[in-house]
Subunit: 316 residues, 3 copies
């Protein structure tokens, strides 16, 4: 799509030459064919080094724009970005694609739906009521239990087990906001990648990325009711006990153990081999690996135990 067409959609105009852009991405990751955006002056240096050729920016960033690129000056970049994501949102289904490829020895129940353009490996089981969206790839030996939903474009590794009611690839929760307090959807044009040997319990929800991918690493096991927000990157061989939630873009290293009803806020970076006891509320990144943590606010587990005794003594 031409950048000038996007400008027209945004009731705006481009500065610089017109060019073709085929998708959107964040500033640091955008390629030369991707539209990107900078909402605040503090992104000046990232803007300068971006590979993108097409930008939505605030006026104060004009001087930081790389040479030989084009841009649109926006009153509210967040809003313009949200509107622009709609342009690149794929349709829910694409009936014109070829019927799904199904590998040898795979079983697809007649009451499961596999959309056109999907690719199913060998020895895969897809049970009744399961939904496998457009262009989804499922690798060998994986079992999709009844009433699982896998949205379009997601990738499921080999030897995975996905239990009923789980939803993979629903839209991440992202909105820009108007001055009147209305919420404008940021279309979530990324996907989810579930690596090999992952088991996901019943009624989980792993949201698709706004751009790029939400990832669940190899060998990780999720209990029931796990919420993984958009753009998370969950390491290999992690364990999540039931009813835990992870905020957007949070990254966990390998072999983290997360007990039940924990919560991580967004944009954290958690060292590998970290352990969190039940109901931990994690609001800061953790740099040192191998720690054991508890509480909300979070603290060292031993400190938390001492603190609980102190608290209990208050009422005496």
């Amino acid at each position: 799509m031409l950048f000038s067409e996007i400008a027209k959609y945004l009731s705006s105009e481009i500065v610089g030459d017109d060019l073709e852009v085929n998708s959107m991405n964040e500033l640091e990751l955008a390629s030369s064919s991707q539209l990107t955006f900078a909402v605040h002056k503090k992104y000046a240096s990232q803007l300068s080094s971006s590979k993108s050729k097409a930008f939505l920016i605030v006026e104060s960033l004009i001087e930081s724009i790389p040479e030989n690129t084009s841009y649109i000056i926006c009153d509210d970049v967040s809003l313009s970005m949200a509107y622009a994501t709609k342009i690149f949102a794929p349709k829910p289904i694409e009936p014109q694609l070829d019927p799904a490829e199904i590998g040898n020895d795979s079983y697809v129940d007649s009451m499961a739906k596999v959309e056109n353009g999907a690719v199913i490996g060998s020895n895969v089981t897809i049970m009744a009521g399961a939904y496998v969206g457009t262009k989804v790839v499922i690798k060998d030996n994986t079992t999709i239990h009844p009433n699982v939903t896998i949205y379009r474009d997601c990738l499921i590794g080999s030897d995975c087990i996905i239990h009923s009611g789980t939803v993979i690839g629903a839209d991440g929760f992202g909105f820009s906001h108007t001055k009147d307090g209305e919420h404008v959807k940021i279309y979530q044009n990324g996907n989810v990648i579930i690596e090999d040997d992952v088991e996901i319990g019943a009624n989980c929800a792993i949201d698709r990325a706004v751009f790029n991918s939400t990832v669940v690493g190899k060998g990780t096991k999720l209990d029931n009711f796990i919420h993984i927000a958009h753009n998370c990157d969950i390491g290999e061989y992690c364990i999540f006990v039931a009813q835990t939630g992870v905020g957007g873009s949070t990254k966990l290293g390998r072999n983290c153990v997360v007990s039940g009803q924990c919560a991580f806020t967004d944009h954290l970076d958690i060292a590998p081999f970290s352990t969190f006891t039940a109901r931990s509320g994690i609001t800061k990144s953790i740099k040192e690996s191998g720690g054991v943590y508890s509480g909300y606010p979070l603290m060292d587990h031993r400190e938390w135990r001492r603190l609980q005794i102190k608290i209990a003594n208050l009422s005496k």
Copy 2:
């Protein structure tokens, strides 16, 4: 149905003339053709001013009954009320109704189920595995993702997006209790109304009202795993982050922001523009708009931050 027939079903008798009643409602909202009930003497004044003509009451309320009405004296009004709700419970499906009306340019997957009596607007997408119950109305441009369930009689506005696994209109959680500790179902004969431009994440549950409607206001956005109990009234343009629950009959004003893993008890009234940080536990109504709150028990957010420092100091 005749009031005398209801009395017979309850193994009881009416005092006053027989009359036709067509449904049930609570004391303040009941119309002249609705059966209602008063479980305790403290409802005397509401009883006196009720428009209903047919009551289930405790004996101590006889003197407060309006003239020219009829009543049944109950040993346990709560129990009798529960039994009576069963009489008015609609059947899960009504195959004798006309096939659903589907508007122009709407897509209903061959593996979606739309029950007879439903009305689907134009440019609506209903994907595989979705269930749209009897007499459900879905307005224009709305997308129902795979494996969504919408129970009978619910209304979904225009421009809504409902993600997979979400259940709209399941029975609210209401029971009366026998002296032996058994629980008697109060049939939930109301519905859910989702207004325009609402987005609901994956695996949410919004329960139908016992009487009347559970409402989610225009432009409100729900993340995954949101629980909205029966008879809630969620204002316009609210934001709910994942894994939050709202107890029955609680009312939120417009533009409230509710972070993850919060909980509201039942029958609260929350002022507009209120903000709740993660894991807030809200047990009291809030009258002043624009506040920011934290903690359980709930307090002003700044106070909560100060308190956390004090608590952390305890262990030193």
Copy 3:
């Protein structure tokens, strides 16, 4: 299956005579035809009194093995046990079984899936999108709402109501761990038993037992988003409010009342008529019936109220 074949699968050898074993069970419950296992020296006395004839054991337990039995010495009994569970795992479906039996006056929607070998009672309603697995039994007058999933071998009593999105019988969350930090699935070969007159809200998950049964007792009522882990035994006439989780093998007595967002750890034994206010975190068994509890760590409700006042005073 011959014990020697299991040994071969585990790349090991049996000590003692070969014998036929038809399933697995834990030490105390195993019958003479069931394989069992003892992971640690502390199980010596249970091992001595076991009825099983076939054991996976650590070397230090050789002396405690009953006479006329056979065993395999394992470097890591937990791992060997996990591998062995796979041998006994039933297939997801068994198409060779007879078509399901459907009782009189029952309604099975043409878009519901009932696998072969299931037995459905009379006056049962199974709505569109529901999944009823191999050999599932559903007794009279029960309603299964749309998009419910019931895994193979589970039993649902009479007069039950199961709301949409609920998953009964997904695998419990059980893994053994290699020295390299990989997780090896313990196949969950038990089932779930839902007794009569149980109502289960939307989007709940009740996991199947690893061996034997997870049980939800007669007349118990679950709100939405309830998580019941494998091998729990929930007593009769309990009440669970939304978003509560119960850890594996925990047992509740009758008429317990559990408010919203509570959590129980695993292997607890909770006295009947116990009440837990919202967000209680229960980590210890409760012996005395009739108590009211709050908080995490858990305490007597009145003490918790006093403590909250003391805590609030800290910031003054």
